[in-house]
Assembly symmetry: C2
Homo-oligomer: 226 residues x 2
C-alpha cells in the first residue's frame, strides 16, 4: 500500500491527499509530527517536511510539487490534472506556485505556526501566538480571495475550463484556514461559490472528517452548504 506521511493541518500534505483521492489512488495516512524531527523521518526527507509519499514500488518522494508532478507522470489514466496544451499547463503551474509560495508563506504557514505548531516547540511553547503576525496574515487573505473571485468570474475553474491542480492547491491552503475559522467568506461570494463546488467533490470528503489533535474545527468547516 502507498503511504503518505502527513500532518492534518499542513496545506501541502492536503494537496497530495486531494490529488491522490481525485485520481482514485489508494493510500494510508501516517501522522508525522514533523517538528519533532524524528531521525527515521529525516532519513526519508532531509528537509524534515511533510508530505512524504512512499509509492507502491518503494520510491520515496518528497516535496509537494515534486510529488504532484510524479503522480501525474506515473498515473496518467483519466487525464492530467496539470491540463493539456503547453500554455494551459504553464498557467496551472503558475497558480500552484502562487498559492504555495504567496498564500503559503504569508498566510497558511504563518497561521498554522502561530496558532498550533508553536505550542509544541520547547523554544516557543510558552510565548503564545503573536497577534501582530496573525492580524497581518488574516488581512492578506482578502487579496487572495479577490484574486480567486476575479479568476472564476472569467473562467470555469481557476486555471481555465477544467478542474486542475491549481484548484486543488488553492483549496488545500484555504481548507486549513477554514478549519481555523479565519476565512472571511461572506465578503467574497464568488470565491465562496467556487470553494463550495470543490467541497462537494468526492475527493474532499476525507478532509472534512479530519480532526487535528486538541483543536476543534470551525462550526461550518464540514458543512457543504456553509
Amino acid at each position: 500500500m502507498r503511504t503518505l506521511y502527513h500532518y492534518p493541518l499542513c496545506p501541502y500534505s492536503r494537496k497530495i491527499r486531494l490529488q491522490l483521492a481525485e485520481k482514485k489512488l489508494d493510500f494510508t495516512l501516517e501522522l508525522e509530527k514533523f517538528w519533532e524531527k524524528r531521525p527515521e523521518f529525516l532519513s526519508l526527507n532531509a528537509a524534515g517536511q511533510v508530505p512524504v509519499l512512499i509509492d507502491l514500488n518503494g520510491s520515496v518522494l518528497a516535496d509537494s510539487v515534486a510529488i504532484c508532478e510524479y503522480l501525474e507522470e506515473t498515473y496518467p489514466k483519466d487525464g492530467s490534472l496539470i491540463g493539456e496544451g503547453l500554455p494551459q499547463r504553464a498557467e496551472v503551474r503558475r497558480l500552484i506556485a502562487w498559492f504555495d509560495t504567496r498564500f503559503g508563506r504569508d498566510i497558511s504557514e504563518r497561521l498554522v505556526f502561530e496558532k498550533i505548531i508553536k505550542r509544541y516547540l520547547p523554544t516557543t511553547g510558552s510565548s503564545g501566538p503573536d497577534s501582530a503576525v496573525i492580524r497581518q496574515a488574516k488581512n492578506a487573505i482578502h487579496h487572495h480571495l479577490d484574486y480567486i473571485s476575479w479568476l472564476v468570474d472569467r473562467r470555469n475553474w481557476l486555471a481555465g475550463d477544467h478542474f486542475s491542480l491549481a484548484d486543488i492547491t488553492a483549496a488545500a491552503h484555504l481548507s486549513v484556514i477554514d478549519y481555523l475559522g479565519d476565512v472571511p467568506w461572506e465578503s467574497h461570494l464568488l470565491a465562496k461559490e467556487w470553494y463550495a463546488r470543490i467541497k462537494s467533490r468526492p475527493m474532499f470528503r476525507n478532509l472534512l472528517q479530519d480532526r487535528a489533535s486538541g483543536l476543534t474545527p470551525s462550526a461550518h468547516y464540514a458543512d457543504l452548504d456553509f
Copy 2:
C-alpha cells in the same frame, strides 16, 4: 525574439537564463526593477515578480518553476534537464524545491533584499541593512554547502549521473551570493569543486559578465580558477 524580464541579482531569473543558455535558445534580456511595480509589468504577472518570459509565439509565462517545466516540455531537443525516469525526475524536482524554497527563502532572497533592494524602497531606504538578518543568512549557507558536498561526494552531479536543473537552480542561487562575496568556499572544498565545474560551462559565461547597477561583484566572481 524571446524576451526575458529579469533582475540581474534575482536567483530565479538567473535559473531561467542558465536553462535557456544550456538549451541554446536565443533570448533578449529586459531589466525589470520589479520593486517599482510598473502597471505594464503587473499586467504581465500579477505577482509582480521576475522572471517573466515572453516566448516566440507571444505566450506570457510567469513563475520560475512553471517556466522551467514549460521550456522542457516545449523544447525537448537534446534531452531533458529534468532527467529521464520517474524517480530521477522526482529527485531533480525535490532538489529544485530545496534550493528555491529553503536556500531562496532563508538566504538569497534575504541577502539581496537587505544589501540591495532595501535601498531602492521609499519605506526602507533610510534604515540600512539589518545586520542580524545578514548574519543569520550567512550562517545558514554552511548547512547548504555541506549538503552539496555530501551529494557530490556520492554522485556526479547533485541529482545523480547527469547535469540537471537541480545543478542549475543551486548554482543560480549561489552565484548571487558569490557576487556579494558571501560564499565561504574555502571551508567547503567539494562544493567549490562542483561550482567550478558549473562555472566553466558555456551557459554560465553571460552570467559572469553581469553587473548590477552600482554594485561591484566580489574579486573572484568571474574567475574560473577561484
